[in-house]
């Protein structure tokens, strides 16, 4: 019955199936993965009447061009994204945080993200994907997840099951706000760095390097001097951990990070700021601000409450 599908006319740069990610596999070397920007992922699903953790298509910078075949379906895009819906005789510029209907033969051209990295495409139905460890999230490193653990490619077809027939238009008034400072908690090797190095970390700006992807974000700026050892005995990593290798340039671990690492940890990005962090584009400036654990916990509660609030408004 696979009669509803997208034909991928252009895959885009880094287009993958994602959901909430997979737990409890760090010990065998598999990271969480999952949608990079959790808030925008959940909102996209709610806008098309899905459970918030349904599989979606995540894209970065340039998105896919998809041609749709099948019965009417709703879709929604979240993030800060420029896209066009091409109908038989006209083209409509789409808006994020609003559902639209696709008819047989329509094309959806996700042109690009605006001054942000990730965008999300959800449809009112279930992408026909395979799951590994209860998640479809694609980890291209270990080829785990939907689509044989690979990025979506030109020419392939993506089938959609169980389309929701009760299509109702949904909308949310929401604008992604930029973040000025990324808040961090001191890391377990904070004292490996010189006083000057610590000062640089919290006071100077860093520039996000082009060598950033779903695994990690590399930063460039004043070098952070290590006065103890530029290696530690390898140990676990988490998303948000900031390591400083011998060259003195920090690297922030992101959702597809290696599970073990041997560079000193100078800090950890607080959970409340992760969704905003991952949206910062190469070339942007970033500044760290120190917070204590109790503040980080409160900030996350507020952030999570805000997310739940947004979802309940839809």
């Amino acid at each position: 019955m696979n009669k509803n599908y997208f034909e991928i006319k252009r895959a885009g740069i880094n287009t993958t199936f994602q959901d909430q990610g997979r737990d409890n596999l760090y010990h065998i070397g598999i990271p969480f993965s999952g949608a990079m920007d959790n808030r925008n992922f959940q909102i996209s699903n709610k806008l098309v009447g899905n459970e918030v953790n349904f599989p979606i298509i995540e894209f970065a910078y340039q998105g896919p061009l998809l041609k749709y075949f099948g019965e009417n379906i709703n879709f929604a895009i979240t993030g800060d994204v420029k896209f066009i819906i091409k109908k038989k005789d006209n083209a409509i510029e789409g808006n994020c945080y609003q559902s639209f209907t696709l008819e047989n033969g329509d094309e959806l051209d996700i042109i690009s993200t605006n001054k942000s990295v990730y965008g999300y495409l959800a449809v009112s139905g279930e992408f026909d994907v395979n799951y590994q460890w209860s998640s479809c999230s694609v980890n291209t490193k270990a080829n785990i997840g939907a689509n044989n653990g690979k990025k979506i490619e030109d020419g392939q077809k993506i089938y959609i099951l169980n389309i929701n027939k009760n299509l109702s238009d949904k909308k949310l008034n929401y604008i992604n706000t930029k973040i000025e400072n990324i808040r961090v908690i001191q890391g377990t090797n904070f004292d490996y760095f010189s006083d000057e190095g610590k000062k640089i970390f919290f006071e100077k700006e860093f520039v996000i390097s082009k060598l950033s992807d779903r695994m990690g974000m590399r930063l460039e700026g004043s070098k952070i001097e290590n006065i103890v050892d530029t290696n530690i005995k390898s140990e676990g990593l988490l998303k948000g951990v900031i390591q400083v290798p011998a060259d003195g340039n920090p690297i922030i671990m992101l959702s597809d990070h290696g599970t073990i690492g041997g560079y000193p940890k100078i800090g950890v990005v607080i959970s409340a700021d992760y969704d905003k962090l991952v949206q910062l584009t190469p070339g942007s400036k970033i500044k760290f601000k120190k917070v204590e654990l109790a503040d980080a916990e409160t900030l996350f509660k507020l952030y999570d409450l805000e997310t739940q609030n947004l979802i309940s408004q839809i």
């Binding site: 737990d23 409890n24 596999l25 760090y26 010990h27 065998i28 070397g29 598999i30 969480f32 590994q132 460890w133 490193k141 270990a142 080829n143 785990i144 653990g149 908690i185 890391g187 377990t188 005995k233 390898s234 140990e235 676990g236 990593l237 988490l238 948000g240 951990v241 290696g258 599970t259 073990i260 690492g261 940890k265 950890v268 990005v269 607080i270 959970s271 654990l293 980080a296 916990e297 996350f300 999570d304």
Partner: protein
């Protein structure tokens, strides 16, 4: 047995078992890891055992540092059970196409390749941890004569199946990956199998691994 518990960010406990790397400390880490895993505590969403640390990640919606710390401190860790140990043999071919860094090692260690192989093959190595990339085992300890530093400039791509040495450790690259270990050979053996969800890793922490040298013919026969 945990020397110190601190927080790593706002959603993880950092349990420090000491600074040395040895079987005794690592066995303690593995015991804690297995005991906590068995408890299946709601809200704990990852455990990462390593040489001498255990990181416990939790869902900040359900738990926080203080609540998880209390749980861990009050946990009964069984000392008596023997750790489950599998003995695993890994075939390795050292054909020159595979032993990418053998010349480097000969120079750095000042011994011949035959001596290197003699000191490596047939010896028992303990699996301290798995990770970095899916299923990669960190095995030890190598004899002093085999201990060399990482490559000055890591390779952008280490071939899948490569067997590498660094300091007192050996590992196997389960996927093509960047890496800086000294590669001495390649195994046709599948070390990580994502289709086997209950048991994807051939080698797990606590296991004992022995490497066996095979010929090029044996290598390609195994691959077919």
């Amino acid at each position: 047995m945990i020397k110190n518990i601190s927080n790593l960010g706002d959603a993880a406990l950092y349990c420090d078992f000491g600074s040395e790397v040895n079987k005794e400390i690592n066995s303690k880490v593995i015991r804690y890891f297995k005991s906590i895993q068995k408890e299946n505590i709601d809200g704990i969403n990852n455990l990462t055992p390593s040489y001498n640390k255990l990181i416990i990640s939790f869902d900040l919606r359900k738990k926080n540092f203080q609540t998880v710390k209390k749980l861990i401190e009050n946990l009964n860790i069984t000392n008596d059970d023997e750790l489950e140990t599998n003995r695993i043999k890994i075939p390795v071919c050292c054909d020159e196409n595979f032993s990418l860094d053998i010349k480097r090692l000969e120079e750095k260690l000042q011994i011949t390749r035959d001596k290197i192989y003699e000191k490596f093959f047939g010896k028992e190595f303990f699996c301290y941890m798995t990770g970095f990339i899916a299923g990669m085992p960190f095995l030890g300890d190598l004899e002093n004569e085999l201990q060399a530093k990482r490559l000055e400039t890591p390779r952008v791509k280490v071939p899948k199946g490569s067997v590498g040495l660094t300091e007192q450790f050996a590992n196997v690259y389960t996927f093509e990956s960047p890496g800086g270990w000294n590669i001495i050979g390649n195994t046709p053996q599948v070390i990580f199998d994502s289709t086997n969800e209950n048991n994807p890793n051939l080698i797990n922490p606590g296991d004992v691994v022995t490497f066996e040298q095979i010929t090029k013919d044996q290598y390609y026969n195994k691959n077919e």
